[in-house]
């Protein structure tokens, strides 16, 4: 079985797994990183959204072999110690979460958006595909705008 070496939230890991194993199950089942959630397994709900070399990915459809030598960041790696990332803080300020299951993915998608587009338009925010079954979209929009406005 091949071994893949990459970093997860700054820590180097070695993973023995079939090449086509999805990163989501590698994170959740082999590395104990449970912030990224399974919601569909086909990249449709995006509850697992994380970053690969700083860009948004859906780990449920990314084979582990594509991660070799690269940097994976999940929701657990976003805060700087006890200091929350501004997007996480905005999520608290707007009290976005309801059940909270999709929110790690929503936050990682928002961080990626704001990295690409520091002052996103409503249309830019509309392009976020992540499903929230509790229907928290309005507060997600407010939280993103709060960050764009400087918190």
């Amino acid at each position: 079985m091949p071994t893949y070496r990459f970093t997860v939230n700054g820590t180097e890991v070695d993973v023995d797994a079939p090449a086509d194993t999805s990163l989501l199950w590698v994170l959740r089942e082999r590395l104990g990183v449970t912030g990224p959630k399974y919601g569909c397994g086909v990249g449709a709900c995006r509850a697992c959204t994380s970053h690969l070399d700083g860009a948004e990915i859906q780990p449920c459809v990314v084979p582990v072999e594509q991660c070799h030598g690269r940097e994976v960041t999940t929701i657990e790696g976003l805060a700087d110690g006890d200091t929350l990332h501004p997007v996480q803080q905005a999520w608290l300020d707007e009290d976005v979460a309801q059940c909270g299951f999709c929110q790690p993915g929503q936050i990682m998608a928002a961080v990626a958006l704001l990295d690409r587009t520091p002052d996103p338009s409503d249309a830019d925010i509309d392009a976020i595909e992540n499903v929230c079954r509790c229907g928290t979209y309005c507060r997600i929009r407010s939280a993103i705008k709060r960050v764009a406005a400087g918190g």
């Binding site: 709900c45 979460a97 909270g100 992540n130 229907g135 928290t136 979209y137």
Partner: protein, 716 residues
Amino acid sequence: MPVWNRRRFLTLAIAAPTITIAAKLATDDSAADALPSNPQLADLLDFGDVVSLASAPTAGSMVLEVTDEGVVRFELPRAESGQGITTAVAMMIAEELDARLADVRVELADADPARLWNQFTAGSTGVRTLWNPVRAIAAAARARLVTAAAVQWSLPADTLTTRDSKVWAPDGRSAGYGSLSVRAATVVPAIHTSPKAVTDHKLVGKPTGRVDARAIVTGQAKFGMDIEVPGALATVVARPPTIKGTVVSCDDTAARAIPGVVAVTRIPTGVAVSAETMDIALRGRDALKIVWKDGPAVGLSDSDIRTKLRAAVPPFIVPPLLTQRLDADFDFAFVSHAPMEVLNAVADVRADRAELWFACQSPIVAQREIATAIGLPVSKVTVHVPRAGGSFGRRLFWDPALEAAQVSKKIGKPVRLMWTRTDDIRHGRLRPASHHKIRATFALGQMLSFEHRMACVETDFKHGFGEVVSASGAAVLGPGDGLMFFHLSASNPYNLGVVTQLLSEVPTPLNTGSWRSVYSGGLRTAEEIVVDQLAAKFGKDPVGFRMSVLKSARTKAVLAKVVKEGEWGRALPRGHAQGVAVHEEYRSATACLVEIDATDPAAPRVTRATIAVDVGLPVNPTGLKAQLMGGLTDAISTMLTAGVHLDDGRVRESSFADFRYARQRNSPPRLDVHVMPPSGKPGGAGELGVPAASAAVVNAYAKATGTRPRSFPIAF
């Protein structure tokens, strides 16, 4: 589950206060041009009253504990699936104890049959049923802590005050609750133990963020899917292509040859594969070669369901003679619950005991049914209730826990069983499809009658609902739990002459279940659409007509609020329009005003929404607004795009790619929710928002497009 120090300090389980039925008169200020309508059962006794009555005898079985570290710990016998009950209850406790909110930890209680019906989460009853007993238990704890400090300081108890999780003496000395807990456990309270007056509240009623928000945004919140039980094998189930299909034969040779696959087990619902990790279990499942027998719904498609429902609609009483009338028919599709967290359960079944972890709204009934299925006494089956990643009614049923218990029993190892999203949508429970006929008659500018006949695919209520009603002492209203629930929830808020609402249920072999707002989702939505048409018949605008026939001053007030704040009647471009609707239920009232852009009628967008809500006494306005926001999103979804098709005994959709629940691009860029000032006792909120928002969306769409939508979702 956290392991708590079992050394007990102040721990209270007190007798419940008397809970009485709130009866209200059907009319408070009838409009001059409307015939007063008859009160309906739900106006006098609704489901929340029933749950209050059924749970009252065991309300004292709730446990509040103050540890020596000053943590106020409360075991909540309810599910938390995002509705915010843990935050609301923590606020109530902090208020009555004068504790810091951060010191209060609300944990979900294990299933306990001694609670009888006081561990049932449904019908927007959480705050309504917990308001009195939780405040009583916290107030009693405060009295004991004050008394303990009085003894310690040799001061009269009534000279002491409490704030910030401490008791304070007049000279400025203070003692933290943790330091007083041991003594407090043995003192006889020397001061009154009754809860505060609402006017003295400092925290209840103030906008407050979720108590678990930081855990959520840092990825630390643990759901059922994240629970680690040593040695538990990842398990998935191969399921049939048809609903309730069965296994004829299974060749598991290839599956068993996959490294890491540990067991393949036949269970009644399919073939379970257990493996070291979930990805291996999924590979194993895909390697099974199964011959399936068709399920009992083969031959049934949407068109057959619609035909059955139309044939089952109860007849109108008023004949179509002499009077002017308006007739309207409506169809609502099946809808999946599709909570973000797929169904899952951990089960560890041994020869003499079992332990399970699964998010559940009805854990006592689930515990009993699972114990029976695996042949153990209930007392030997422990059920832990983790937080749920959404529910919307789905976790009233415990299907995955039963499967996990069956597999664990067969293989003698603990398992953590997961439904895939496809399992969830194809084999999950459905909000039943329904057909509605409404006939309104009027003469000389006055409404004479309003009849609503609803036929619905039978809803499965076998999650303890009937037993709750029986335990409450409420009379049995008719055959079937569905009819009972219908009459405990159905009501129409208007003076429209003689109002009747009747339900007929059509049995099918499908998996069904209550979906947020249950019958009201179709019933009241259809009625609010017809009310817009009646307004037009009378030459009035939708707001003016409603104001002339609404019974309740509270409902008129929320309507007036959205009219003002939402700028009813403002000019909008062609293809855009406003729509409005109201709903009363759970002793609460709401109005919703939306603006829609239907320039492309095939792809409408709700662009703005204004909601007003009166829940009697809002405990947490921030959480309350969140519930109304969620109801609006459900409304936009189920009215415009989200439903599931039944094709020859199977569900067509399989993921969020084709079950088109709203996404960011479907939600309004502007939403304002207005919480009305306190007007009484707390009412329910979780399901309140769906019907008014649903009808407002459709009314706006109808106006914008000049159409009369009758079948939902519109783009299906």
